[in-house]
């Protein structure tokens, strides 16, 4: 066996030092050597503890309490019961789910297709990368105000309605329409965020060895076969990661209803779960109800994350 021919290493040749002593000394040495690193780590941990973990725990506790006259009492599941009876509760979940599904179709697929097209280009790829990334550099509020006041103006003077009119198509009320509110939010959101996703996909695509495409071409594979048999399998990991991130990010729908619809929109057509949390907490003087709704959302998103982790573990 090869291992039998290997000469013993100098470490094994010398008598080993007592394990505990050596570990302690080595551990101490490591800490001393990495003192600066640990310093940064402690700072980061403290920040997470203070601004992330503590508020989360506090939120869960608040969801079982109620404060009246400055006195906080435990009320069990009362806040959850009240939130579940809110007529806007299911509407908000329905809108959020609809937004998430549409955003997966548009916001997930379109950037991938755009990245593939860019990747196939021989010229002007760099310029196009900059152009596609420009909207990401706009503050989200500014981008949404552009949509609100210019693109989604419900009169014929609105940008989109003017285009539809030129094409002899029926115009829309956009955010004022119960049926168009969610698609309009998805459209604006996709435009705002596409640049980042395109760059990530492009980076993944450029890491695929060219030899695989050459081999596929030699085998007579056309563009679509190359995408199907080379591009998609080679980017599977990043695609599944982006899908998960997309679901989690889109379920956080908040700024779009807040700005585009001035809140809930027509007959709650733009209400999202995150906006409902905000409305309960900051408009209805119901911070405990908002906390309960926040915990429900946390559980749902946690469920999605668990499913994702399980699936990716299986794939590995």
């Amino acid at each position: 066996m090869p291992s039998a021919t290997v000469a013993p290493s100098p470490i094994h040749a010398s008598p080993p030092a007592p394990t505990t002593r050596r570990t302690r000394r080595a551990g101490g040495q490591r800490i001393t050597n990495n003192l600066t690193g640990y310093g940064f780590l402690i700072g980061a941990i403290l920040c997470f503890a203070l601004f992330s973990w503590y508020p989360m725990i506090r939120g869960v506790v608040m969801s079982f309490q109620r404060t009246r006259r400055g006195v906080t009492t435990w009320v069990g599941w009362d806040n959850y019961e009240r939130i579940l009876q809110d007529p806007s509760f299911w509407t908000a979940w329905k809108n959020t789910a609809y937004f998430t599904v549409l955003a997966l179709v548009l916001g997930y697929a379109v950037p991938f297709v755009v990245a593939i097209i860019f990747n196939e280009l021989r010229h002007a790829r760099g310029y196009l990368r900059v152009l596609i990334y420009l909207p990401v550099m706009l503050p989200p509020a500014s981008a949404l105000f552009l949509f609100k006041y210019y693109a989604y103006d419900p009169s014929d003077a609105g940008l989109f309605n003017a285009i539809l009119k030129v094409m002899h198509l029926p115009t829309s009320q956009w955010m004022q329409s119960t049926s168009m509110a969610v698609p309009a939010m998805v459209l604006a959101s996709t435009w705002m965020n596409m640049g980042g996703a395109v760059l990530i996909y492009l980076a993944a695509l450029q890491n695929i060895p060219g030899s695989l495409y050459e081999a596929a071409e030699l085998d007579g594979a056309g563009l679509f076969k190359r995408i199907r048999h080379v591009t998609i399998p080679q980017t599977k990991l990043i695609l599944s990661l982006m899908a998960m991130l997309q679901v989690v990010a889109t379920m956080q729908l908040f700024i779009e209803p807040l700005i585009l619809a001035n809140g809930a929109g027509t007959q709650d057509s733009a209400t999202s779960v995150a906006y409902l949390i905000y409305q309960h907490g900051f408009f209805q003087n119901d911070l405990n109800g908002a906390a309960a709704l926040g915990v429900i959302m946390l559980l749902v998103l946690g469920g999605f994350s668990a499913v994702y982790l399980r699936l990716s573990a299986k794939q590995e």
Binding site: P55, R58, G70, Q85, P87, S88, N262, F282, M297, L298
Partner: protein
């Protein structure tokens, strides 16, 4: 990290950040309860740097006040959206970062009491502390009281009427000296103004950001209705009066097409359109014209004001509201007294602070508007304030004479008003954006939600 965490972290970080800022100004522990000793109080709503004139006036007032009371130090704090944003206020209240003397709407009493942040000040408030106290309207005081316990000091009030653009009236062939008195006349005038085209709405109304519910309430009051029962426990708008309010709006929006196509408006949206000369009429308080001029590039000379329209006759009531200041729980007697002296000086003395018309006139801040009218008509303070206002007026008082000379009974906003308004936004938005929306269905849905919100608040 989930959205919940993100939101909570963001909210808490904001509150914590603000808290740190305010904590730096905290006066706890550095004052003495002995009235002769040095005392420090923090007060909010200091104008921001971009409001140069207002900030200069504020600083001058603080300096003059401290000269008058050398033992009192005023620490001014500038807060988010300068006090006029309910979510900012709720965050400060929930985070325990309100200042010693803190601003609130008249509708905030319940929320402030629930938070346990305010102290009862009944025993401290009298004519010695605030010389105009006996002249201040009882209704305004009631908005800051629970039973016979006083928790806050009213400092400004308003009631609503019909604001209209004289230019557009003239262009539409309407008599600007004889504006609509009833909702039927409003409808007719709106139709005529809308024919001017160019994106002009004859009449405009809110339907988002709680302002839709606020205006529904105002319009219901004008019909003689109320949004909640007298005991405040149940919704009381799903009736003929509530239906008339929504049906009027629906008819104007879709039958007459006189309200323009842009809806889901909240406070700034409507005033932006008004400033641009695109709104013929809307319901508002006199100080809406101030916002139109100072924030939205409009002109005073375009606007005039009439009393609130009624249904088939004079209005039976008009919505009144306003603002004031609470005192943070745990203040010493000396701090409360110092706070009262500050409010008396800055907000409630004729000729000083907000009533300093001699200073306001050359700064082009409006003088001559009929409100705030905090003092009881006929009282000494009322007369003195009125005389000073007339002597220094820089807006045309005649433009507001119809409103001022034909007072409509004021009905103040109900408890839990903001929660009710949030629900009623939905009914307003439905009627103004969906031609197929049913007035009956929308009122029923809103009634159920308001009843649920009131039951939750009562628990």
């Amino acid at each position: 990290m989930s959205v919940t965490q993100y939101r909570r972290v963001a909210a808490l970080a904001a509150v914590a950040g603000l808290g740190l800022a305010l904590a730096a100004c905290s006066t706890k522990g550095d004052d003495s309860s002995s009235s002769g000793d040095k005392v420090t109080i923090t007060v909010d709503c200091m104008p921001v740097g971009s409001q140069k004139e207002l900030l200069k006036d504020w600083n001058a007032d603080v300096e003059a006040f401290q000269k008058l009371y050398p033992n009192i130090t005023i620490k001014s704090v500038s807060v988010g959206a300068q006090c006029n944003n309910p979510p900012d206020f709720t965050a400060r209240l929930a985070g325990g970062t309100v200042t010693d003397v803190f601003y609130a709407y008249m509708t905030d009493l319940q929320q402030v009491l629930d938070s346990g942040q305010a102290m009862e000040i009944t025993q401290y408030v009298n004519k010695d502390q605030i010389s105009t106290w006996d002249s201040i309207s009882k209704e305004a005081k009631a908005a800051f009281s629970e039973g016979d316990k006083l928790y806050g000091i009213p400092t400004k009030n308003y009631s609503m009427g019909l604001l209209y653009n004289k230019n557009l009236f003239q262009q539409a062939g309407l008599d600007a000296k004889n504006p609509p008195k009833t909702w039927e006349e409003v409808r007719d005038a709106a139709k005529k103004i809308a024919t001017l085209g160019n994106g002009i709405a004859g009449y405009s109304d809110y339907s988002a950001g709680n302002t839709g519910g606020w205006h529904f309430t105002a319009e219901l009051f004008s019909q003689g209705g109320q949004v909640v029962t007298a005991d405040g426990k149940k919704a009381d708008f799903n009736n003929d009066l509530g239906k008339k309010v929504l049906q009027n709006l629906k008819d104007m929006r879709y039958t007459d097409n006189s309200m323009g196509s842009k809806q889901l408006l909240q406070w700034a949206d409507l005033l932006t359109n008004a400033g641009a000369g695109k709104v013929g009429m809307f319901v508002g308080a006199p100080d809406a014209t101030t916002a139109i001029v100072t924030q939205f590039q409009g002109k005073y000379q375009d606007w005039a004001m009439a009393p609130m329209p009624g249904q088939g006759g004079a209005a039976k009531g008009t919505l009144g509201g306003g603002e004031g200041y609470f005192f943070k729980k745990g203040l010493s007697k000396a701090q409360v007294e110092a706070g009262l002296k500050w409010l008396a000086y800055e907000k409630l003395t004729v000729g000083k602070g907000q009533f300093d018309y001699v200073r306001a006139k050359p700064e082009n801040n409006p003088v001559g508007l009929p409100q705030p009218q905090l003092f009881i008509p006929g009282s000494d303070a009322f007369k003195a304030d009125n005389d000073l206002k007339v002597a220094n007026a820089n807006v045309t008082v005649d433009d507001f004479a119809l409103f001022a000379n034909n007072p409509v009974p004021i009905k103040f906003e109900p408890a839990n008003a903001q929660a009710i308004y949030a629900v009623l936004d939905s009914a307003m938005s439905a009627i103004l954006t969906n031609p197929n929306a049913s007035v009956d269905d929308e009122l029923k849905k809103a009634e159920d939600k308001v009843n649920q919100a009131l039951a939750a608040a009562a628990k």
